[in-house]
Structure formats: structure tokens, C-alpha cells
């Protein structure tokens, strides 16, 4: 045996990429007591709060139906938190439903669900409280009434949860160009390809009888929409096409579960997210489009966001913020053309926006899109300018490549930052990494940041962290490491990750990311927002996965408790590691990760010596989904260590 060991060792040393197999079974140790390491349970734990499609929401009288209750909508995305200023509870949680689907009681389109929670002093859980609303509804979960207030909404994805006072706005993504696109009734983009159009069912204009029928999946009431918004005289009393009443930021009152206003004065865009500055004066807005423009609303009076000026960011101007005239219906309905005229800076799909209250720095995710050039070339010709980091990236990709070349790629996206002091933008962390040459195994990254989407700021152990949720928009060119190959191994769900990034000065790299593995396997995580007491992170799982039993296979809002018990060091890899030969392990309970002393192949065995998994070329192993018990890790040199997981 010793001979074998030496032989294998010499192969490794000589650089031959010996890839050894691990026996499927090994003898359970008898007289030999391997080094034993204990991994305590994670201080983080999950609590289910709200299950989409299953939990019942209290509804108002809608479309001629009486107030009642029905199953909530699904496809959870953004979460807002409104702190309670009294001691009666912790606050109100608002959940977006990113869909556009008919519903006789909640109302067509997307929607929101709100509920009120208190912290259970004993268990630390969040209890959902019974409420009686002014409109007479009583219960635990309430749909936000849009239909009878400001009109239906659609594809409610991101939003704003004010750091000042918990005011909530919901954003309507997926920009609408005609009534058909909110109704799925006819197909304007079909005819141009059809030399001899045939008759097919056309959009059903509003028909009292169509409500309640199966006809049309989307928004059924397509009558022209009379705007009733005295706060905004430039549009009040106008009648706009129904689809034009979509794609606004919409403020809601989570306490009374009703919409307050569509923010006509911020313009009509495919909004995704936004923030309120700490002085309650500025709103920064993210738009999911290519090109996306970075917008700012400045309130005349702090806290009153009905009066003020709207500006767009232009990095190459003396005055970075160029004012847009938002005092006409025509202008707010066609905001993009104003931004282009202003020569504004173009981004590639801006998503969520977050703000660090300790510094006032604004962060946002620019999720990226494979080949953006075709989508912003016309705008560039009309005067808009490409953001400087895109110009730099394109130059790095080849001699004659610019951000307007078809070859220019932006696969992975990034997190951006804006400093209100200097009014400068910069890249906080670039996605990837991308390799100009195929990486050798030893250089392959443990972490890969692709298409960041959800974003927030959280305080842990008095340090500020960005909370980043991925939402992969492709599986090409390394976004899915071979280990997780979607086709090869048939894994359905793209492995979207939830990361923490310590906020420090300067640019961060993917090595600085800390993966949170406590979330359900394969679930696409979004909406992350901390509770004001810092104890919990609220998250949504939007795209359910088969690998998790009920309720984790549904659209779900859950809380991860225990963040107040974390220390910053508990989130870090071990220090003082001996990287010499051999296998040493460093279990980190917070991350439910076992760190290895050096990159190597290891196999995991159960207590009776049966091999469970093989991990190749790794420096760490995620054991979050292992049941508690005793395990052995074996190096390819045959060395064993015992891991007790509690």
C-alpha cells in the first residue's frame, strides 16, 4: 500500500494529471480513529411565510364580484418591508407577483400580496398577524387592490422599499407596445410575415360577459383608460390606451392593501427597481431594457414625490444629470426619446437598485445581454452614448471591436455603483470570470457570477454587505460549469446563487463573493431584503424546483433567520491553512461548507463506507443538503477524515 501511495504521489508531482477513481466501498474503520471534525448546525434556518397560488388572500369587490377570498397569485419577485413605527408589530411585507394573468377576484394582470408580521420573542419566528382593513377586509393575507384604484398592473417584478420610511412602489417590467400584448388576443407582429392573412380570433374588446370566462388569458378590459390623477395635471383627465397605463412605478399602501398612485411624473419605462435616498429627496430608477437609462427624480419637497424634476444620467457631460421635461403627457409616455435626445448614457439591462444608508452610495445590477449592439445602435446614432465600461470592455475584446459591433458580448453582467458625492459611476464587481484561454483546472474559479439581478444592502456584524441574486439568462460559454451541466446531467434548474459581498472601497472580484447555501436546492432566489432588526433576510423563490418537497416547490416567500448571530469571520474561509500535501478540512457551519486545505479530488463516504459523491478539483464542498450524521472524506491518496454533521 505504501508503494502505491508513493507511486501516485510521484505521478501527481510529475505533473501528469492523474485522475484517480475512488472505490465505491471502503472498509469501515475498526481500530483506526481518523481525525474527526464536527460541523454544528447552521445558525441560519428557514421559515415559510407565504405560498403563492395556495395561501388565500382577502379580495375587494372586483369586476362585479363581491369581496371574498381566493388563492393568491404566484411568481413572487420583489419584497418590500415597511417597518411599524409603533411597537405593535415588526411591520408589513409586500410581495410582487410577476405575471400577467386574468383573475376574477384579485383582478387581471400581475399584482401584490401584503401581510403584517411580528417577531415571536420565544421562537424568533415571524408570526403573521390578523388585520382588519379600512375597506372592511379581515384576514392574514391581502391582495393589493389595483383594479379599483389606479388600474391593473402587469409583470410586477422589482420595486422600491424606501430606507427612510418603508414606502413601497412596485415596478412593471416587460414594456408594452399595444393592447394585444397585455391581452394575448391578437398578434400584430404576425401579419407582416403572412402574405395572405387568414382570419383568427382577434382581441376581444371589453365585454361584460367576457369577465369570468376563459376567453383571453391576460388583461381583459381593453377599453381606453381615463386617467384620474389630479396630482398630475399634465395627464389628469386624458384618455390613454389601456396598455399605456402599464409600465409605471406604482406606489401602494401596504397597511391598507391598496394602490396609491401610478407615478406618471417619473415617466413610462420598463422599470425594474429603484431606491429612495436617505434625505428622502432623490429617487434613483433602474430600467430593464437595452439601452437602459439611469434616471433620477428630485423632489421639490423631501418626501413629496408628486412634484419635482426628472433627470437622466450622462457620464460625459459637465452636468451629469440632464433634466427631462416631464410636464406633458406626450413626454412621459415617450421618455426614451427624451433620454436619447439628451445624449444620455446607455446601459445593458439595469435591474435592481440598492442604497447603502451608511454612505449614500447607490448600487445596481446591470444584468447583461449576450450581444447588445443591435439593441442600442440606433440610439447611439441618435445621440445616446455608451457607458464607459462597455467601451472599455469592447476595446479589450479586439482591435476593431466597439460596443456597437455585433461581436461585442456582455454575457455575465455586473454590479454598478453611483456615488452621489462625486456623481461618478463605476463597476463594483464584474461578472464572470471570462477566460481568453480555457482555464487550466487549477485556475478554474470556485465561484462564477452570472447575470446578477436582485440586489440589496444588509448589515451583518456591523459590516455592510451587498446581497446579490443571480438570474442566469443563458447557459453558454461557461455560465454553467460542467459540473452542473444542464443538459449533460439533466439538471433542470439553472443553479442561480445567492451571494453576499462585503462592501469595501474599490472594485471587488468574484473571489470576494460569499455563497449562501441555506436556500432550497436549485431554486431561483429573488427579492432578498433584510428585516429592520437585522435578524432575518426575507427571500422569494420564484421558479420552483422539483428537488424540494412542498412547500419549497412552489412560489414562496420565506425568511432566513439567524443573521444577527453571524460574525463577519464566520462568513470567511479559514485562515492559516496548511497547503502542504494531504487532506485537512475546515467545516464552516454558517456556510454549511467544508473547506479543504488545498485544491484536490475528494470523495464523500457514509458511515458504512459507501461512496456518496465524488468532488473533483475543489477547494470547498457544499454539504448543506446532507442529513446530519457521520461521514468520511477521502483524498485521492487514500487519506481519511471524519466529518460529523449536526
Amino acid at each position: 500500500m505504501r508503494t502505491l501511495y508513493l507511486l501516485l504521489l510521484s505521478m501527481a508531482v510529475s505533473g501528469l494529471p492523474a485522475q484517480l477513481v475512488f472505490p465505491a466501498e471502503i472498509d469501515a474503520p475498526e481500530d483506526y480513529a481518523p481525525v474527526e471534525e464536527v460541523m454544528p448546525p447552521s445558525p441560519l434556518r428557514l421559515q415559510t411565510l407565504f405560498i403563492g397560488g395556495i395561501d388565500l388572500v382577502q379580495t375587494t369587490a372586483t369586476y362585479g364580484n363581491d369581496a371574498n377570498q381566493t388563492n393568491a397569485k404566484e411568481w413572487h419577485d420583489f419584497i418590500g418591508f415597511t417597518p411599524d413605527t409603533t411597537t405593535e408589530s415588526l411591520g408589513w411585507i409586500s410581495v410582487n407577483h410577476e405575471s400577467i394573468y386574468r383573475d376574477d377576484r384579485i383582478g387581471d394582470g400581475g399584482g401584490m400580496t401584503v401581510f403584517r408580521v411580528e417577531r415571536d420573542e420565544e421562537s424568533g419566528d415571524l408570526n403573521i398577524l390578523d388585520q382588519n382593513l379600512e375597506d372592511g377586509r379581515a384576514g392574514k393575507f391581502f391582495n393589493v387592490d389595483f383594479v379599483n384604484t389606479v388600474g391593473e398592473t402587469g409583470m410586477n417584478c422589482g420595486g422600491i422599499s424606501s430606507i427612510v420610511d418603508g414606502r413601497i412602489w412596485t415596478a412593471e417590467e416587460w414594456f408594452r407596445d399595444d393592447n394585444a400584448s397585455i391581452n394575448y388576443g391578437n398578434f400584430s407582429n404576425y401579419n407582416q410575415y403572412d402574405p395572405a392573412p387568414v382570419s383568427y380570433p382577434s382581441a376581444v374588446g371589453f365585454d361584460e360577459n367576457s369577465v369570468g370566462s376563459g376567453i383571453n388569458q391576460g388583461v381583459r378590459d381593453l377599453r381606453p383608460f381615463p386617467v384620474d390623477a389630479p396630482e398630475f395635471p399634465f395627464i389628469d383627465g386624458d384618455t390613454i390606451a389601456k396598455y399605456e397605463n402599464f409600465n409605471w412605478m406604482v406606489e401602494i399602501d401596504p397597511r391598507q392593501a391598496k394602490a396609491v398612485r401610478k407615478q406618471y411624473n417619473w415617466g413610462r419605462q420598463g422599470f425594474e427597481g429603484g431606491v429612495v435616498s436617505a434625505d428622502n429627496k432623490y429617487i434613483y430608477l433602474g430600467v430593464d431594457a437595452t439601452p437602459a437609462f439611469f434616471l433620477r427624480f428630485e423632489a421639490d419637497t423631501p418626501g413629496d414625490f408628486t412634484q419635482g424634476t426628472l433627470s437622466v444620467y450622462k457620464h460625459d457631460a459637465e452636468e451629469k444629470w440632464v433634466e427631462l421635461n416631464n410636464n406633458s403627457a406626450r413626454n412621459v409616455l415617450n421618455l426614451d426619446s427624451l433620454s436619447i435626445e439628451a445624449g444620455a448614457t446607455m446601459f445593458n439591462r439595469n435591474e435592481w437598485v440598492a442604497i447603502d444608508p451608511t454612505t449614500g452610495i447607490v448600487y445596481w445590477t446591470e444584468t447583461g445581454r449576450d450581444y447588445p449592439a443591435g439593441a442600442w445602435r440606433d440610439e447611439a446614432e441618435a445621440g445616446a452614448v455608451v457607458a464607459p465600461h462597455h467601451a472599455a470592455r469592447a476595446a479589450a475584446q479586439g482591435e476593431n471591436i466597439t460596443a456597437l459591433s455585433d461581436e461585442y458580448w456582455d454575457y455575465y453582467g455586473r454590479v454598478m455603483q453611483y456615488d452621489p458625492e462625486t456623481e461618478e459611476i463605476s463597476v463594483k464587481i464584474e461578472g464572470g470570470p471570462y477566460f481568453n484561454e480555457s482555464p487550466s483546472q487549477t485556475n478554474y474559479p470556485d465561484k462564477h457570477l452570472s447575470n446578477p439581478d436582485g440586489l440589496n444592502v444588509m448589515t451583518i456584524d456591523e459590516q455592510q454587505f451587498l446581497v446579490i441574486c443571480e438570474d442566469l439568462n443563458g447557459e453558454t460559454f461557461g455560465r454553467m460549469p460542467a459540473e452542473n451541466g444542464s443538459g449533460g446531467s439533466g439538471v433542470r434548474n439553472r443553479m442561480c446563487e445567492l451571494y453576499l459581498l462585503p462592501i469595501t472601497d474599490g472594485t471587488a472580484t468574484v473571489d470576494d463573493l460569499i455563497r449562501i447555501t441555506v436556500t432550497p436546492v436549485g431554486a431561483e432566489i429573488t427579492g432578498a431584503i433584510p428585516t429592520p432588526d437585522g435578524k432575518s433576510l426575507l427571500v422569494n423563490s420564484q421558479h420552483p424546483s422539483s428537488e424540494n418537497p412542498f412547500p419549497y416547490n412552489h412560489s414562496l416567500t420565506f425568511a432566513i433567520h439567524g443573521f444577527d448571530e453571524l460574525t463577519t469571520t464566520s462568513l470567511l474561509p479559514p485562515s492559516g491553512v496548511d497547503e502542504a500535501v494531504g487532506l485537512e478540512i475546515y467545516p464552516n457551519p454558517t456556510l454549511q461548507t467544508v473547506f479543504l486545505n488545498r485544491r484536490q479530488d475528494v470523495a464523500l463516504y457514509n458511515q458504512t463506507g459507501q461512496r456518496l459523491r465524488v468532488f473533483r478539483n475543489v477547494t470547498q464542498i457544499d454539504v448543506s443538503d446532507l442529513p446530519s450524521g457521520a461521514y468520511y472524506l477521502r483524498s485521492d491518496e487514500g487519506q481519511l477524515v471524519k466529518l460529523i454533521k449536526h
Binding site: M1, L4, L7, L16, P17, A18, Q19, A24, E25, D27, Y32, V35, I51, G53, I54, I100, Y101, D104, R105, M155, W174, S181, F187, Y190, Q192, D194, Y200, P201, V204, G212, G214, G270, D370, G474, E475, F477, G485, S486, G487, G488, S489, R492, V521, S545, E547, P549, L566, T567, T569, S570, L572, P574, G576, G582, I585, P587, P589, T590, R611, R616
Partner: protein
């Protein structure tokens, strides 16, 4: 509390026994590890070399096209380039299937850009598109050059990214098994060679590549089990010799299956286990569509229903299933107590109803319907357990909602008890939208039947198969190209070899039976699925490709039930679909004008489809339904005949 938790607490000191080795139990010579490493290295180097060759062939191809080389030169270079691709195919598809699909050898159909909040059409790129272009009667040089420009960028990028990757043993075995399935389901059917017809030769190249990759491993497999090594050697030998003498129209695909593909799908994973090589399926928390332990792609357990239905096995499964069966047959779910799921999905007719349209579309069979990544003719629903919701709320169908249904079921002591027994582990949701949907989904999930006379022959369990059926199968998978959309083994649009995605097709279905001057059926299909990303011109009149299993019992056919018998269906395709009967859809997806089948050939195809019959053993229903103590008027509900269904022009549920 973790306040005292600091890194030094979990530092490990293992110097005491650092070099201790455990004995290896019951496994042969540990020195063979070294040989395995050599085998791996050989494949590794070959792969890197093949990637470089492929990129070089693409560059040469592009060069020829830009110099306006004569047509036959281009065609020769095209075939060389494809052959080079086929040598990397198994590993490239394993490592980056989406890159292959989108940039190298995907179907010649437009797609929309994924995950962007708008419709943006991506035109198809790659070798399949070129296969049609270069072999078309009128080649368009500019289009060919444009295609090659993009292909050369992609092949260079792939070489850059993967030209140095270190493969793992398991990649090779798993990729090889997938390739064996790909050769049978896509390769020899001509799926990716619509223009050149080079299918058989390319299948041979692909199989030889696998043979070469396994060569280094075979001695070590033989050390562990000589029989397994022999089976693999024979499979490669039989397969290559069949393909060497094969012609596309006459090739006996069943013989290839039984002599080569079946042993490969069975013994490649067996060899992987023998050599102690780990598997992608070791992680029990991730479910997989294809079962690594299934012997044949026609084995009943080849596809995992749990994966598709997104269920997880548990101790209450039997109770949930039994409850689902009751609900399936119970008209109490519908507002007027007259419709149950079985009204349109009658077990006696393989879970169809024999009508042209049940409401607005023809009721599809539920048998094997679980094997899909999306449900409904327009693929509008991703989740089997949410499929029921569409039926519940549709005004033409159950016309109610889950809160009303739950309220009703709660009035039956029997149902209350059954729900308590089946879903008692979730007290808050014991009788809810979830438990009702889950029970029904489990019943539908369980309606699988893959044991037709043809399956038994395909698996090698019997040597008896009617000659007409064999002939029909070879036409179905060859000359008639049915198998390039109705993929084996489900013979539906579930795409091999990953089986993770369903296809729809635009056929140009007429609104009534005629063979000339037909009018298009007005049902818009997938473009109106309610999914924003489907709202694009090429999804208009697109419908899910259904299974042809049990078609003997499921007449009439097509989403609108326009064809009364299978001969009419085959005749429709033989004429080139809608295009051949006067319906002109620019984006029709049938890649041919006419199949050139004679009456005898069409008859053989029908014979083959009729040999895919296996439904009668699923023909059962509960003896009686639960009673409602306080609602005596509900207790004879199942004797009330289903209402006469009025035809509607609008399209919603199925």
C-alpha cells in the same frame, strides 16, 4: 449562538495519521488506476485536437465560400466540416448543449432571445442551416457566407474555452451514452442532415468516435467483468458494420437498436460503475429525466416521471394517488356537477373522448402525458400540478375555483378523511388548492404505459415482430421523417437525448377535411399561450407535437380533430402538410414538399403506429364516489350525463 465561533475553532490538525490508507474492498487491481489515467488522457488530447480540427475545417469552409468556390467543392467541404463536428459532438453536447444548439448545430428555426423583457428574434445559425443551404437547388452565396462568418466565430470561441479543459472519466461515459441515444433518435433519422442526407455516414463517424474513446478503457473493464467488455466490443462492432453498409432509405434501424444501441445504453453505465467511476446521478437531491440504470431507451423506466411531474417520492404516495383517482372521476369538481376530468379523458378511449373537439380543441390522451416539460397544445403550463387550474377556472370547463371546490369536498366525511390521511403531514394545506392539484397530478403522472408489442421487440424481449410493423418503423424513422419530430421513445415532441424540452410544430392544419384549396384552422396555437415570450410570429399556429402511442384508440386527430383516421393523417404529411393542400404559411416547419410515399408505404407506417398500443390495462375507474351526508342531491352526480358541448370559436383550455 455563534458569537464565540471563530475560524481557529474549526481548524483541523490531521498530521497524526496523515498518510493512513484504507484497504480497498472487493475491487480488483488498484494499479489499473494508472491505466485509467492513460485512457482518460488519450481521450482528453483527442478531444482538444478534434476541437482544433473542427475550427480549422470551419475556417477552410468559410474561405471556400468567400472565394466563390464551385458548388460541389462547397458540398465536399461541408461534409468534411460536419464529420469533424461529429467527432467532437458527444463531449461538446455534454459540456455545453446550449452552445451547440444556438451556435453550432441547432435546428434551422428562429428562436427568441431568452430572458429579455421583449421579443427579439434570433435567426438560426450553424451546420444544420448550412446543410439545407448548401444542398438547396438554388444556393445563396451571401447567406452561406453570412452563416459561415458566425459559425467560425463560434467554433473559435468554443475552441478557446474548451480547447484545454480537463475531462473527467464520468464525462466520457455519460457523454458516450447520450451520444448512443442521439445516434439512434436523431442521427440515423436524418434530423440534422435535412439537405445533405449524410445521416448514415455521420452516424458511423459518431459511433467510431465512441469506439475509439472506449478503447483505452476496455481492458480495464474486462479485468472487472469480461462479459461487459465483450458486450461493448460487440455493440461497436455490430453498429459500425451495419452503418458501413447502410443506405438511408433501406437502413434497418431496428437492427441497429437491438445489436448496438441497446447494449451501449445498458453497458456503458454498467462499465462506469464497474470501474468505480462516479456518476452525475450520485446526487440524490437533483432528479434527472433519464435513468442511468435503464437498459434500453424503450425500457419502461428509461424516463423518470418524478422529474417531469416535479414530485418527490414519499410515504403517503399511495394514498395521494388513490385520492387523485377519485377526484379524476368526480364531477363534484365542476360547477354544475356534470363534468369530471374523465368526461373528456375516458380510460376506455386511452383517456380521450372520441370527439373532434371537447371544447375548443381535441382532447389529447393522458397516457404518457407526464413526459413533457410543458403541458397543453400551446405549451402554456410548465407544471403538471398547475395544469388542473386551467381546467378549474375555465368557463367552458369546471367554471369554478379552488376555494369553492375545497369547500365542497369539505362537506364529505369520506373526502375529509381521505385528505387527512393523504396530506396530514401538511395540516395547514391538508385540503387546499395544493392538495387537490397534487393528488390529480399524481394520478396523471401514474398513467404511463410503455409496454406495447413494439416496445417488447425493441427491448429484445421477443424476436417476433410483424414485417409490416418493422417496415413501418423504418419508414417512420427514415424516409417519412416522422421520427424527426415524434422522437423515440415517447414518439412525441420531447427532444432526445436530454428529454428536457418539448417542441411545437407549424403544420398548416386545415379547418375541415380537404386535399386542395384548404383553409387554415383559425386556432392561433402557441402564440396565444399567455406567455409573453411566445408572442412572436413563428409561434402562430404552432402546436405541441403529441405522442403517436395509442393512436389506434384516440381518433380523430390533430388539435382540431380534423382527420378521422390515420391514413388521412399520413396522407396530409405525404403532401407536405398545409403547403401541399393550399395553405401557405411562410413559417411552416415541415422541411419537405412531399415525402413521396406510396400507398403501401403509408399503410406500413399506420401498421407501425398501431403496434404502439398499450392502454387497456389502465382502463379502470373507482366503483363509487364518496357521498355527501348533507347534500343528498349531489350523491347521484355521476349518473347525470355530461352536457352536450357546444362548439366555441374561442380557444382556451383543452
Amino acid at each position: 449562538m455563534l458569537a464565540s465561533f471563530i475560524p481557529s475553532r474549526y481548524l483541523l490538525f490531521s498530521f497524526a495519521t496523515a498518510l493512513f490508507l484504507w484497504r480497498v474492498v472487493a475491487i480488483g487491481d488498484p494499479f489499473s488506476d494508472q491505466g485509467l489515467t492513460t485512457a482518460l488522457e488519450t481521450v482528453n488530447e483527442q478531444f482538444h485536437q478534434d476541437l482544433a480540427t473542427f475550427a480549422a475545417e470551419v475556417a477552410a469552409y468559410r474561405d471556400l465560400a468567400e472565394r466563390d468556390a464551385p458548388r460541389h467543392k462547397l458540398q465536399e467541404q461541408h461534409l468534411r466540416t460536419r464529420a469533424a463536428f461529429k467527432r467532437c459532438e458527444y463531449l461538446l453536447e455534454y459540456l455545453e448543449p446550449v452552445t451547440v444548439r444556438r451556435h453550432l448545430n441547432g435546428a434551422p428555426l428562429p428562436k427568441t432571445e431568452p430572458k429579455v423583457p421583449e421579443i427579439r428574434v434570433i435567426e438560426p445559425v450553424g451546420l444544420q442551416v448550412l446543410d439545407e443551404l448548401v444542398f438547396a437547388p438554388e444556393a445563396d452565396p451571401a447567406e452561406i457566407q453570412g452563416q459561415l462568418g458566425k459559425l467560425s466565430v463560434a467554433s473559435e470561441q468554443v475552441l478557446t474555452y474548451y480547447g484545454n479543459i480537463q475531462l473527467q472519466h464520468r464525462f466520457i461515459f455519460e457523454a458516450a451514452r447520450e451520444e448512443a441515444v442521439r445516434i439512434f433518435t436523431l442521427g440515423v433519422t436524418g434530423f440534422d442532415t435535412p439537405g445533405s442526407g449524410a445521416a448514415i455516414g455521420e452516424a458511423l463517424t459518431a459511433l467510431r468516435t465512441l469506439d475509439a474513446a472506449m478503447a483505452g478503457y476496455l481492458p480495464y473493464i474486462a479485468e472487472r467483468d469480461t462479459a461487459v467488455a465483450r458486450e461493448l466490443r460487440d455493440a461497436f462492432h455490430h453498429g459500425t458494420s451495419l452503418l458501413e453498409r447502410g443506405e438511408f432509405e433501406t437502413f434497418d434501424r431496428l437492427e441497429l437498436l437491438r445489436k448496438s444501441i441497446n447494449p451501449l445504453t445498458r453497458y456503458l453505465p454498467a462499465a462506469q460503475r464497474l470501474l468505480d467511476i462516479e456518476s452525475a446521478q450520485d446526487n440524490p437531491r437533483l432528479s434527472h429525466p433519464v435513468n442511468a440504470n435503464a437498459h434500453s431507451l424503450f425500457s419502461a423506466d428509461f424516463l423518470n416521471p418524478d422529474y417531469y411531474a416535479r414530485t418527490e417520492a414519499g410515504p403517503l404516495d399511495d394514498r395521494r394517488l388513490a385520492l387523485g383517482e377519485l377526484l379524476f372521476f368526480d364531477p363534484v369538481l365542476s360547477k354544475d356537477l356534470r363534468l369530471s376530468c374523465a368526461s373528456c379523458h375516458d380510460p376506455k378511449l386511452a383517456f380521450t373522448d372520441g370527439k373532434r373537439k371537447s371544447f375548443v380543441r381535441n382532447a389529447p390522451t393522458l397516457i404518457n402525458s407526464v413526459y413533457a416539460d410543458r403541458y397543453f397544445y400551446d405549451l402554456r403550463e410548465e407544471f403538471l400540478d398547475r395544469q388542473i387550474r386551467h381546467v378549474v377556472v375555465d368557463s367552458l370547463e369546471f367554471a369554478t375555483d379552488f376555494t369553492d371546490i375545497a369547500e365542497r369536498l369539505n362537506q364529505s366525511g369520506t373526502y375529509r378523511k381521505l385528505f387527512a390521511e393523504a396530506y396530514g403531514d401538511q395540516p395547514r394545506y391538508q385540503l387546499s388548492a395544493w392538495s387537490i392539484s397534487d393528488a390529480l397530478a399524481r394520478y396523471v403522472q401514474n398513467l404511463t404505459a410503455l409496454d406495447s408489442p413494439f416496445d417488447r421487440y425493441a427491448r429484445g424481449e421477443t424476436d417476433e415482430l410483424a414485417p409490416r410493423v418493422r417496415e413501418g418503423f423504418n419508414l417512420f424513422m427514415g424516409k417519412a421523417v416522422c421520427g424527426t419530430c415524434h422522437f423515440a421513445p415517447t414518439f412525441s415532441g420531447l427532444v432526445p437525448p436530454f428529454y428536457t424540452e418539448n417542441e411545437t410544430e407549424v403544420l398548416g392544419i386545415p379547418d375541415s377535411f380537404t386535399v386542395s384549396q384548404a383553409r387554415l384552422d383559425p386556432d392561433p396555437g402557441r402564440i396565444r399561450s399567455g406567455r409573453p415570450e411566445d408572442e412572436v410570429y413563428f409561434q402562430a399556429f404552432a402546436f405541441k407535437t403529441p405522442t403517436v402511442r395509442n393512436v389506434q384508440a384516440t381518433a380523430p386527430y390533430m388539435h382540431n380533430g380534423v382527420y378521422q383516421d390515420l391514413y388521412q393523417v399520413v396522407d396530409f404529411y405525404n403532401r407536405g402538410g398545409g403547403k401541399g393542400i393550399g395553405i401557405h404559411l411562410e413559417h411552416q416547419t415541415l422541411p419537405f414538399d412531399s415525402l413521396g410515399l406510396d400507398a403501401d408505404e403509408m399503410d406500413a407506417i399506420v401498421h407501425f403506429m398501431e403496434a404502439l398500443t398499450d392502454y387497456e390495462r389502465l382502463d379502470s375507474r373507482p366503483d363509487h364516489l364518496p357521498t355527501f351526508e348533507k347534500r343528498p342531491e349531489w350523491n347521484d352526480r355521476y349518473r347525470t350525463p355530461a352536457p352536450v358541448i357546444k362548439a366555441a370559436n374561442e380557444t382556451t383550455g383543452d
